[in-house]
């Protein structure tokens, strides 16, 4: 037995990371490199898929050499990736057709507005569990066809391939133009708006609607199963898992039972609730998505509430207002006062995501009086993350029969104790942080290690999870209610600010 580690590749929005984990799920080595963000026009965000592939080819050997590990000591590779980012490439040359369109890109806004009025949200919700948004991949493919001469015909002819980042990387790892495997996993496919959420196959009606030819699409596979063997970078090592990054975090937090939920607090925040093998269709503004599918076992579903702006509000406070010099200082400033002084900030910088889905909303600061200081504003900044989480949890509790009992958290903002305590206070459930901070990478490693037999079952993974910190609710219920009402009134004031049906 030489296989002593599992390798995880996290292809994220700003960087690509390669991490080696041992049997206890402990981090053995990390290598990370950023890639360039391209903003060719307002609202457009692009990545160079070739640059990302080259980045991967550099971080993998670095992670190995840092820990003095040889490729034959790697049991399997698992991939977690930024979701919904869309890349088209030439099957014969392996060259991308233009830059990848990133999930944050809003160029498809006019198209999405049209779709929501005709054929309307229900048409899509029934099939893919999602209502149209600039967030997902299918409108981007349609946009590319509308703006690229002869592209659709070449896709019909099987010359052009579509993929999200995991498809692009697996295709390149397994040979590229020379027999590369063109596949995706159910979690990534569930974010395209092209997969039928019940059958877990490409949906003929959706394909027809978006005009996407089937030959360009990758084969949909389980999140954990042997896809094939790498032919470059790590020749001979099996690739055995792929998951969208937020699903990977859910897996890394070992939320394997229905009712278990995690929220990852970064620039934005993503709360996912495991609903088991039951497909729950949201009536309260959440997304229905696939959590994971292990080999030929039934798929496990999740409800997801994405929040667009959480950590980004702290960054704005730091970079645009200049009231703090580092993000953690927000806590120092906020602790200088007892409360928010009656001030609330709704950070609807580019509209509001879950559960409102209002692109016509813009940010507001309400309750300003001459009493308000920068310390009160700092508190309102942190509280905005707490209340936005509360809104998503309320929607989850309304949609699912499983009321949230505890929230597992991860991500950079979990180092903020004031925020974590506030979260426990407003959710009225314990908030727990695990000892393994890198939950996205860990989730991909766990899935890969399961499929490769490195770990025997989910129970063993559960035993690797340890609580590093816990915050218990400690707020007067009347105060919780009145503060929440104030927050909701603040949100009402943010809605409808943009009058044009098509946001700029």
């Amino acid at each position: 037995m030489v296989e002593r580690y599992v390798m995880s590749i996290d292809q994220g929005t700003t960087s690509t990371r390669c991490i080696l984990f041992d049997h206890q799920g402990r981090l053995v080595s990390v290598a990370q490199r950023e890639h360039q963000q391209h903003f060719p026009r307002p609202g457009w965000v692009e990545h160079d898929a070739v640059e990302i592939w080259h980045t991967l080819r550099r971080v993998v050997p670095q992670a190995l050499s840092d820990a003095e590990v040889t490729p034959d000591e790697v049991a399997a590779i698992g991939i977690a990736n930024q979701r919904e980012t869309t890349v088209l490439w030439d099957r014969r040359t392996g060259t991308p057709l233009g830059r990848a369109i990133v999930w944050q890109d809003t160029r498809t806004a006019p198209l999405v507005e049209d779709l929501r009025s005709r054929p309307g949200d229900d048409f899509f919700l029934r099939r893919c569990g999602l209502s149209p948004s600039t967030y997902f991949s299918a409108p981007r493919i349609r946009w590319l066809f509308d703006h690229g001469d002869g592209l659709r015909q070449r896709a019909e002819d099987g010359e052009v391939l579509f993929g999200t980042m995991e498809s692009w990387l697996i295709w390149n790892l397994t040979g590229g133009p020379d027999g590369g495997l063109h596949l995706t996993d159910v979690t990534n496919a569930s974010r395209t708006m092209l997969m039928n959420i019940s059958t877990l196959d490409w949906d003929e009606e959706l394909l027809e609607f978006f005009g996407v030819p089937r030959p360009m699409l990758p084969e949909i596979r389980s999140s954990a199963e042997t896809y094939g063997v790498a032919r470059s970078v790590l020749p001979g090592v099996r690739i055995t898992a792929a998951l969208g990054d937020q699903q990977a975090a859910l897996f890394g937090q070992t939320c394997f039972a229905p009712g278990e939920a995690k929220c990852t607090y970064g620039t934005g925040s993503f709360l996912l609730l495991n609903t088991g093998t039951e497909l729950v269709r949201s009536r309260h503004g959440l997304l229905t998505t696939v959590a994971y599918k292990i080999e030929d076992q039934p798929a496990v579903y999740a409800l997801e509430g994405p929040i667009a702006v959480t950590g980004a509000l702290v960054q704005w406070f730091r970079d645009r207002l200049g009231l703090i010099s580092t993000a953690p200082e927000i806590e120092t400033l906020a602790r200088a006062v007892e409360d928010n002084g009656g001030c609330y900030i709704v950070p609807a910088f580019s509209g509001l995501y879950a559960p409102h889905w209002r692109s016509d909303a813009r940010g507001v600061i309400v309750g300003l009086t001459s009493y308000i200081t920068k310390e009160h504003l700092a508190r309102a900044v942190l509280e905005a993350t707490g209340w936005q989480t509360r809104e998503v949890v309320d929607a989850m509790n309304a949609d699912s029969s499983l009321a949230l009992k505890v929230l597992k958290v991860d991500g950079g903002m979990t180092s903020d104790n004031l925020l974590m305590q506030f979260l426990a206070d407003v959710l009225d459930v314990p908030v727990v942080r695990p000892m393994a901070a890198e939950t996205v990478s860990l989730g991909a490693a766990y899935a890969a290690g399961l499929a490769a037999g490195y770990w025997p079952d989910l129970e063993v993974l559960r035993r690797n999870w340890h609580r590093a910190a816990q915050w218990l609710p400690d707020m007067d219920p009347r105060r919780r209610e009145s503060e929440y009402e104030n927050w909701q009134r603040a949100v009402e004031r943010a809605l409808g600010w943009i009058r044009s049906p098509n946001p700029p």
């Binding site: 953690p328 180092s415 000892m435 915050w471």
Partner: protein, 255 residues
């Protein structure tokens, strides 16, 4: 006794020159004003820039005094920043040692717990963040005392409190212990604050080696120490390793 260090004298002259007027100065102006070679001047300015005493305007390349000089009297590292920068290393220390981990920083003659990672056995534990510990009876406090982050005098005047029969309350014994901490590079507390409990701590250093806090592992005396009540060498090296890793991240190059 060595003589004055020339580069420090020159650095002081540069700071006085930049402080003498509101105008920002270019490299050539600074060098000419002080009669120094441009290369020498540039080296000193770059070093002062590294410690945030001098800032360089991005557009014009001219130099002016840095904001850090205005805050020389106060702790330059925010405690929440310290937690954020330490969190991954503290988690790793708890995972590898199997013990609870705490970070301490000086506050008003005591140790403020700025971060706490639970012992990884999933038993019921309560977050200690915000709690205050005595300097002389805790391993975190002894590190802060030994490396000059805080002075014992105010507390000592009132008399050192005996928490257990092992607490070091005689000033000369405490002084001896602190000398040993400086020599070893780490501190221990064996049943000095609570009977049955022990802890090991090491210094976290920032720019220039200045100690800004301490990180430590603690638990029952049977787990932290061997049969002779001596701290386990493996645990000591894990704690020191974590402290050094955080220090490197904070810019303390030599540690």
């Amino acid at each position: 006794m060595a003589g004055p260090v020339q580069s420090i004298e020159r650095a002081a002259a540069i700071l006085r020159l930049l402080a003498s007027g509101p105008r920002r100065l270019g490299l050539g102006e600074v060098a000419a004003s002080l009669g120094l070679a441009k290369g020498t001047t540039h080296g000193i300015l770059r070093t002062l820039q590294n410690v945030d005493f001098v800032e360089q305007d991005a557009a014009t390349g001219k130099y002016h005094l840095g904001a850090a000089l205005l805050h020389l009297g106060t702790s330059y590292l925010d405690v929440n920043e310290l937690r954020s920068r330490s969190i991954n290393w503290a988690d790793a220390l708890a995972a590898r040692s199997g013990e609870a981990v705490r970070l301490g920083a000086p506050l008003e003659g005591r140790v403020l717990i700025v971060h706490h990672v639970f012992r990884p056995d999933d038993t019921l534990q309560t977050l200690d963040v915000g709690a205050l510990l005595p300097l002389h009876a805790s391993s975190l406090g002894k590190v802060l005392l030994a490396f000059g982050s805080v002075s014992l005098e105010p507390a000592a005047e009132a008399g050192l409190e005996a928490y257990t029969r092992h607490t070091l309350v005689a000033p000369e014994r405490l002084t001896e212990a602190l000398t040993e901490v400086r020599e070893l590079g780490w501190a221990a507390e064996v049943q000095e604050m609570t009977m049955g409990e022990a802890g090991i701590a090491a210094p976290i250093r920032g720019h220039g080696g200045l100690v800004v806090g301490a990180i430590g592992a603690s638990g029952t005396v049977e787990r932290i120490c061997d049969a002779k009540a001596v701290p386990q060498p493996a645990l000591v090296s894990q704690v020191r390793h974590a402290a050094q890793a955080i220090s490197r991240d904070l810019g303390a190059a030599r540690w």
